[in-house]
């Protein structure tokens, strides 16, 4: 252990968690905060402490080699920024949650910056299951290992981002005209604007022109157009657009 004469120990109450955390301040390190690594009881400066074992090298702060044991991120996890969380995504972590200190292990999907909730994935025989631990209940987070390429691939394909523009120009043009004709047959004023459709100057439909691709500030028009798109038949007949006479629609 350390000579206690050189260590100041503060017990701080963090108001939003009601927990007590001990921070050890060492005057020798020019006021930098240090946190224990329990396995080797070696002191680390904060930047080195927050790195995972694979990333650590020589600590530039004071020229000492850093430990290569696993780290225990205590309340430091919550106070470290989103950049650290982003670096830990896709790694296997162990989260201790709740007063009963239940442990959950899984591959880190994401950490919500708003609520500090941690989303973990675990793969079973029949598919994947996701566990989200709410931020207020997270006690400890420990990074265990990096993912192997197979797991990384599975993680990436779990919640894929939507395709950006999707289909080739001809297909897109065909779909766009189909949607435009359908809307015009339903007496909705629509005009083409490049790759998008503009409805009554207030609603925009991007490729690939599905109900979810509509965006507008006007809730009522959005709702009406989305409903129309949902009931659009697959083959929009090329019938005449009603000029102004009502035909029962």
């Amino acid at each position: 252990m350390f000579t206690t004469s050189k260590i100041f120990s503060l017990n701080i109450n963090f108001p939003f968690k009601g927990n007590q955390t001990s921070l050890f301040l060492f005057p020798a390190c020019r006021g930098q905060q240090r946190l224990f690594v329990e396995d080797k009881a070696e002191l680390l400066c904060l930047p080195c402490f927050l790195r995972t074992p694979a990333e650590r090298g020589r600590c530039s702060e004071e020229g000492r080699p850093t430990t290569d044991q696993r780290t225990v991120m205590q309340s430091g996890w919550l106070h470290s920024g989103p950049q650290l969380w982003l670096r830990c995504v896709h790694r296997q972590v162990r989260v201790t949650a709740g007063k009963q200190r239940e442990e959950h292990r899984g591959w880190l999907l994401t950490v919500d910056p708003v609520s500090h909730s941690v989303a973990l994935v675990s793969f079973g025989e029949d598919g994947a299951s996701v566990r989200v631990v709410l931020g207020h209940a997270v006690e400890h987070v420990e990074v265990l290992q990096e993912p192997d390429p197979d797991t990384e691939e599975r993680l990436r394909s779990l919640f894929p981002p939507p395709e950006p523009g999707g289909p080739d120009p001809d297909e897109r043009h065909r779909r766009r005209s189909g949607v435009r004709r359908w809307l015009q047959q339903n007496r909705v004023p629509v005009e083409e604007d490049g790759n998008e459709l503009r409805v009554a100057h207030v609603l925009t439909i991007r490729a690939p022109y599905r109900p979810d691709d509509c965006s507008s500030a006007n809730q009522i028009i959005l709702d009406r157009v989305q409903r129309l798109l949902r009931v659009q038949p697959d083959q929009v007949t090329d019938g005449p657009v009603p000029p102004g006479t009502s035909d029962g629609l």
Partner: protein, 128 residues
């Protein structure tokens, strides 16, 4: 235990304008902070601020996609005192303070629609 029960009318909470539920009261701000602010280091350096903002938006987008994938699926909520309930997930609010669920299976019956506070929940799971 599949008989639907009528909606229970619980007693009204504290007056929203008095202490406790007042959004400007120190207690509310302390307990229900809506979002973590930018770190002190990033505030001074615009480059780092940009990186931090990018990280925040990527993480938040992944979380929102996770929530989207969860809608209309059966989720199991693990709450305090080892209470586990199953429900069909509806939506969450922007600060992840409340969850709207349908068909909540409770020991006294099935609640057709319910609002669960996030402070009561420790974790929840669902199958993709």
């Amino acid at each position: 235990m599949a008989t639907p029960v009528p909606v229970l009318r619980l007693p009204k909470g504290p007056d929203p304008n008095s202490r406790g539920f007042d959004p400007n009261s120190p207690r509310f701000i302390a307990l229900c902070r809506t979002s973590i602010p930018t770190s002190a280091a990033a505030e001074s350096d615009p480059q780092q601020l940009q990186e931090e903002q990018h990280a925040r938006s990527v993480l938040r987008e992944r979380f929102l996609r996770c929530l989207l994938a969860m809608s209309n699926k059966k989720v199991r909520f693990h709450m305090h005192e080892k209470v586990n309930v199953e429900a069909t997930f509806g939506a969450s609010d922007i600060d992840v303070l409340n969850f709207q669920v349908s068909d909540l299976h409770t020991p006294i019956g099935v609640q057709k629609e319910a609002l669960i506070r996030s402070q009561d929940v420790i974790s929840f799971t669902f199958d993709v």
